[in-house]
Amino acid sequence: MEFGPHLLLATLEGAISAAVLALIAVGLSIVFGIMRVVNVAHGEFYMLGAVMAWWITSHVGGHPAIGFLLALIVAPIMVGSIAALADHLILRRINYDPERTIVATIGLLYVLQQLTLMTFGADARPVEAPFNMRIALPWFENGVDGWSMYWPWGLSTTTYKLAVIVAAVVVLVGLWLFMTRTRAGLIMRATQLNRDMALAHGIPVEKIYALVFGLGAGLAALASVLVVPIQQAHYLMGGDPLLLAFIVVIIGGLGSIPGTIVAAILIGMSDGIISVFFSPTLAKILATLLVAFVLIFRPQGLMGKPAK
């Protein structure tokens, strides 16, 4: 394949990574922003979403779309409920103390991972996409007789991959509207801005925390349900997304949703493109270097506020 078509293909793969990463990282970001909790177990909620999607789809007969749609709704709700329960049983008991929550969520990471291994085994599990038409993509060439369009061999994507991008955009826009236009979103932002004054206005802060922790985990689970027809479910799949999500949240500015989305696009796209042209390892190295530079030259992140 020539360079141009190859780049388009890489960009498309990058857009899918970016879309999925944005969902995961926004989940991590709202948990940090509102609760000041660094959730090291976030990748495991992502993993749980994928494993549940496999479990649900393998137990529902009929057209693959039926099981998948069910998983798309049920898995994030289940994972969100597990997270809210973990908040109630663990994080609340240690009073959301910043250092202790890191240790506690590291513990949670291993508990969730090992429970999944013990229950579902170590095999990678496929999930069938609800629809998966291959569509060839055209390319344009300026030849001897002007511009012409042709269909390079191998330049194609699937309807499902495009649908993943659309779904991520829809969810993120919905989340944005929820946070800025609804009463519940207003209450969450007030809690984030001033915990004591939220209490002094009758806001049950601990209930809000459980809700936010569930919402963050639910977003990670939603991302993994979307990804699992492309990637397969496995009990160790949470590691890479966790690392990338941390990179994105730091670059975007801790707790800033717009910053997180911009950084997810930046990291996701470059990860996709560099992986296609060079190697996935180089992509991770460059992302890590970028974090180091951000931390040195703009520690508050692209859109974060400087610490007072």
């Binding site: 209450i187 932002r189 007030a190 801005l193 001033n194 004591d196 002094a200 206005h201 009758g202 049950p204």
Partner: protein
């Protein structure tokens, strides 16, 4: 109406309040006076349930505040304007007031009444709280508290750093609340304000409530105030 009985409060291991007691009646302006670090802010936070009591109890309207969940305290009709205003900085003026209205599920009528008191805020409803001037921020903090339709109002240095015209406005609002029967606990350094509007004054020193005096007794004897505040 408000009954603070023998409370002791500590931050971790450092005890800050020792055996503090006072009561405030409805329609009364009760003033806490004392130097920086005496424990006045700590006393107000304790009433709001934001700090746990080591001993003692706080009653309001026959309810025990000190055993309630902190988020239930405001629902009893208690509004708090903290030192430094405590606005939701990234929310707009309208949203800050909306959060005040939520406490009692008050509607548009309350909102309009509050905005009539502070017309400057009506012109800035869509503006973010942290872009307001200092005086406007204090008006917003007061407006947010009034939108809770409180029976008890806790004010921590509400005139701090404000110009005289705005101090006058805040004083007038406080006096109007008092006349409407609201009980008011006021932490205030501005002695003119204290002498103008307070009914009774408690002197707080090193976390102890040293003396409670009627304002009329102090008016004849201003040296006493100066002695407790440590100003010449």
């Amino acid at each position: 109406m408000l009954n603070v009985k023998n409370i002791e409060v500590a931050y971790d291991k450092v005890q800050v309040l020792f055996d503090v007691s006072f009561d405030v009646k409805s329609g009364e302006i009760f003033c806490l006076l004392g130097r920086n670090g005496a424990g006045k802010t700590t006393a107000l936070k304790s009433i709001m349930g934001l700090l746990p009591l080591k001993t003692g109890s706080i009653q309001f309207d026959n309810q025990t505040l000190s055993t309630m969940a902190p988020y239930d305290v405001p629902k009893q009709g208690i509004a708090y304007v903290p030192q430094g205003r405590g606005l939701f900085s990234e929310l707009t003026v309208a949203q800050n007031i909306e959060i005040g209205l939520m406490v009692k599920n008050s509607g548009a009528a309350t909102r309009e009444r509050v905005l009539d008191i502070f017309p400057r805020l009506r012109e800035r409803l869509k503006q973010r709280a942290d872009t307001l001037s200092g005086g406007e921020q204090q008006m917003l903090a007061m407006a947010r508290a009034l939108s809770m339709e409180p029976k008890l109002l806790l004010l921590d240095e509400p005139t701090e750093g404000l110009q005289p015209s705005i101090i006058k406005l805040i004083q007038d609002v406080i006096v109007n609340m008092k006349q409407a029967g609201v009980a008011i606990v006021l932490v205030e350094h501005h002695i003119e304000t204290v002498l103008t509007i307070a009914d009774r004054v408690a002197f707080v020193e090193n976390g102890r409530c040293q003396k409670i005096a009627e304002i009329n007794d102090l008016k004849n004897n201003p040296e006493e105030i100066h002695r407790y505040l440590g100003v010449n």
